[in-house]
Amino acid sequence: MKIYVCIKHVPDTAANIRLLGGTAFDETVKFIMNPYDEYALEQALQIRDKEGGSEVIAVTVGKESAAATLRSALAMGADRGILVKTDTYFTDSLETSRLLQKAIDIDGSPDLIFTGKQSVDTEGMQIPFRLAALFDLPVVVNVMAFSMAGGMVTVEREMEGDVREVIEMSIPCIVGAAKGLNRPRCPTLPDMMKAKKKELKVVNGADLQIPKPIQTVELLELQPVPDRGRGRILKDSPENMADELLRLLRDEAKVL
């Protein structure tokens, strides 16, 4: 099977985002593979290890620096990587999905495409769906369990209030991974050394000549969200604190 995994190079969730005006932010913070993409990649690797003759190809759209996250994917076990290089950090999701689709289409014919359920930076939650429309494939996102048999994939997706839906779809298809799907492996030092020798192809996004979308969501500006200040801290017996809190929530904050 040819399994493609779309991954994204994003700032660590523990990092503070320092804004530099307009849409710029301090990109010297630590970057990681988008956490949900780790579950996507792990699932792909497990399938490859079971199904003979399979290949896992990690694909990303991003600036040159995103190659580091592709190397992490190769260290985890992906066979090859493709970086579709863009000049800007933020790209419209329709454009990103067209770039991914074109890059995958040139490379081969996918049996499965995995993505994370969303990225932790722009949180657009669009790429798996847009890819599905472009490839005309079925898609399920927010997947927490996966199995495959007889040309069909069975997944469980999380819905609200701890409800899960069991969904069947035919292969080829697209799966958006959520936390809980599996336990992503940690690469060892030898894995990392081996990853340096694996193929990492860099393609210029502009060379893919995708139609420039007109229907876009354009990022105009990023603004910081200030933290609220130090709250009113109560220190008393549990009973007194509980009574005082309820009074404050009812009379002052008016949220009860």
């Binding site: 769906f129 209030g161 603004q223 009973e239 929530l249």
Partner: protein, 320 residues
């Protein structure tokens, strides 16, 4: 005046409460004409509540597939056709688990601009605000082209009564039914209760809870508050709480009216997920916990004593 479709989620004729905020957001004062779109046979049962929140037309969408709720692709294709047939300029919905999925399917089929988890919508200029990097930054976005597909963040848009007389239309979607994907079963998990992403009140626990069993003190308090129970990443990773309950940048981003964090010190990634809450209360026995520096009210004390005291003070279970 634009014509806006609103994707309605109902169960047995009862419209989900967060949908009313979507109706209000779609109306934009009285600037737009609102079409409530729903699947199934409950249009009449939903009429009263929909029309009292400014709905002009209720559209019951029928498909050749008798049970479209089991076929997300069928629903999405039918919505696309309904939007064209009714000449809708935009489709609004609630960015809950169902809404996020369906709105993204519709936008992708149409190649249309989509923003989920909208915090502010200025429809006339096409300017939207939403969080980027969870709650760490706010992004200002401009929509180009159309139609626009917008999912509102639950609990951010107030629901405002605006009585109308709504007419019920039926739309038969002429679609080819594809069955390459189908929902086979619905499983109800142990956690139950309201979902954190749509709850108006959330009480969350961190690692100091110490075990899954100890989350009971939060569930007891949640029952009297009408709240959902959430958890920090540390508590989820320790196996004390289900993944579905995780609040934070790698869990759910929430905006409840009241967020009560118990034994949560307040990491950057946790704050990113709950910063847009209206009121944040922290319960912690560590006076130096960072969360006390970024909350509205703090209770310095042992959560195992403080939370039950709060539950008792709230009294018997209240009806909402």
């Amino acid at each position: 005046m634009a014509r806006i479709g609103v994707l309605i989620e109902e169960k047995g004729g009862e419209v989900k409460k967060t949908n009313l905020g979507a109706l209000t957001a779609a109306r934009q004062g009285a600037a737009n004409e609102v079409y409530a779109l729903l699947f199934g046979d409950h249009a009449e049962a939903c009429r009263e509540v929909l029309q009292s929140y400014g709905t002009e037309k209720i559209v019951a969408i029928k498909t050749p597939e008798p049970k479209p709720s089991s076929f997300p692709e069928v629903q999405a294709a039918a919505l696309c056709l309904a939007m064209d047939a009714l000449c809708l300029d935009a489709l609004f919905g609630v960015a809950g688990q169902y809404g996020k999925d369906m709105l993204a399917r519709v936008a992708s089929l149409k190649g249309a601009p989509l923003v989920l988890d909208c915090l502010e919508i200025d429809f006339s200029s096409g300017i939207i605000k939403k969080s980027h990097f969870s709650g760490k930054t706010t992004a200002t976005l401009r929509l180009n082209g159309g139609p626009w597909i917008l999912g509102i963040r639950p609990n951010i848009f107030p629901d405002i009564v605006d009585p109308r007389k709504a007419e019920i239309l039926t739309y038969e979607a002429p679609i080819q039914v594809s069955k390459r994907m189908a929902i086979r079963e619905i499983k109800h998990g142990a956690a139950g209760g309201p979902d954190v992403s749509e709850a108006e009140i959330i009480i969350s626990g961190g690692r100091p809870l110490g075990s899954a069993e100890n989350f009971k003190i939060l569930r007891d308090c949640a029952a009297v508050l009408g709240a959902a129970v959430g958890a920090s990443r540390a508590a989820v990773d320790a196996g004390f709480a289900a993944h579905a309950m995780q609040v934070g940048q790698t869990g759910k981003t929430v905006s409840p009216r009241l967020y009560i964090a118990c034994g949560i010190s307040g990491s950057v990634q946790h704050f990113a997920g709950m910063k847009t809450s209206k009121i944040i209360v922290a319960v912690n026995n560590d006076a130096d916990a960072p969360i006390f520096g970024k909350c509205d009210y703090g209770l310095l004390g042992d959560l195992f004593e403080t939370v039950p005291a709060l539950t008792r003070a709230l009294g018997p279970v209240r009806s909402k």
